[in-house]
């Protein structure tokens, strides 16, 4: 089955790309193609000019440069928050134990989770778990971070804290591709938005374009639905 057709875009340093669209439109698959969790049968992905599907490329090294934040967090259940963040540094980047720990604490601090460093994932709220998930990706100093619906598994009252962290990241120049229906977030920081439907790009443009004059009726209806279902959470974003 072909999930994505002719989807092509470029992402510059420090840009935030927001991908949205109905479920089953291939948003998650798009992200999973980029870091090869689901390798595409056709098509190419370039990271800083390097084709990551090229045979001489070590995919693990590439993945270390592409962070990923999951909808269901996927924190390592047997590890404390701090070890979730430091394990990539230790096992992939070869940091010594102490250095990895120090760096992990710094990153946890940046998502305001340093106080929870010694808790296991199951002892944290969804919002806290997702902040650790973001810290785990951040710690690797990736070139780009992929966010796969990072707030859609969260209770409404926990969404704000995660969006705030993502907003701070975006503003500090982190390159991100975000699959989300949080239009407030998109409005605030997206450099471009892409509306996917049935695996093709239906419409793309700046937030202004989408929120003032979207071309297709489909996008208009979808945005209306989103507003009804989720609200825009603009008040959550300072």
């Amino acid at each position: 089955m072909q999930v994505l057709k002719g989807v092509s875009f470029e992402l510059g340093e420090g840009e935030v790309k927001v991908v949205f669209g109905p479920s089953g439109s291939g948003k998650s698959t798009l992200l999973r193609c980029i870091n090869m969790l689901s390798p595409p049968d056709k098509g190419e992905v370039y990271l800083r000019g390097q084709n990551i599907k090229a045979p001489e490329v070590n995919i693990n090294e590439m993945r270390a440069r592409i962070g990923m934040v999951f909808q269901h967090f996927n924190l390592f259940a047997h590890l404390k928050a701090i070890d979730n963040v430091s394990i990539g540094l230790r096992r992939v980047k070869g940091f010594p134990k102490e250095e990895a720990r120090e760096k992990a604490l710094e990153v946890l601090d940046s998502v305001k989770m340093d106080e929870w460093a010694d808790r296991y994932p199951a002892e944290l709220s969804g919002g806290q778990q997702q902040r650790v998930g973001i810290a785990r990706a951040l710690a690797m100093d990736p070139d780009v971070i992929l966010f796969d619906e990072p707030t859609s598994a969260l209770d409404p009252e926990l969404i704000g804290e995660v969006l705030q962290v993502m907003l701070d990241l975006a503003k500090s120049g982190t390159t991100m591709i975000v699959v989300t229906h949080e239009m407030g977030f998109a409005k605030a920081v997206a450099s471009e938005m892409i509306f996917l439907g049935e695996g093709v790009i239906i419409e793309r443009g700046t937030p202004e374009h989408f929120f003032i004059s979207p071309k297709s009726e489909r996008v208009q209806n979808f945005l209306q639905q989103l507003d009804v279902l989720y609200g825009s959470h603009e008040k959550l974003l300072k």
Binding site: N35, L37, N60, E61, M62, R63, A64, R65, I66, G67, M68, F70, H72, N74, L75, F76, A77, H78, I87, G88, R91, V92, Y120, P121, A122, R136, M140
Partner: protein, 228 residues
Amino acid sequence: MSDTPTLSEIIFNIIGRGLYHTLLLTALGLLIGFILGISLALMRLYGAKELAWFSSGYEKLFRGIPLIVLIYVFAFGLPDILWYIDPLELRLGSVVLALSLRSAAYQSQIFRGAILSVNPGQMEAARALGMKGSQAVRHVVMPQALRLAVPSWSNEYSVVIKDSSFASAIGIIEMTQAAYFVSVNFRELWALTYLVLAVLYFLFTYPVTRIFGERQSKKLKKLGMGGG
């Protein structure tokens, strides 16, 4: 033993003469079964097709043979090949071999189930960080699978310690054989002797399955590991 023994003498007789071999056979059977069982589980899940077939065939074979048959095969067969080894050691070795080869088949199933019940998202998150498949298995999947396996593994312990009693069939003096000697020497005490034996086995199994089975299950649930 000429005077009729008291209850405590029966207990100490069974423990004193038999406990060492019961625990030795159990420990070796479980340990070797553990090493083989994990290897078989990894072969089945991550190995090449041929290794997976071997593992699957091994499980079917050793789950289909009664333990006592394995013990007889090794106890009667090994001396022909290893005639220069001390007969008692060879008999112990036969039981260890039988216990561990059979336990490996069951432990392989335990570990395979445990690995499969680790949430697939854990493997994905590890790969997304840039870990190699082997690193992800070693640092993320296995640590969780081993914890998830503890309840079933404690059950396997209780099976192996009880089945070490089959060693009595080839004359190894473990707890059951020690009790048998008491019961034939003092026929009027046979019921009491076997009651003592049964209680001893129970005391060696129940607390272990209780602590590592039920308590571990609760703890794992609290940590949110496994399917549910």
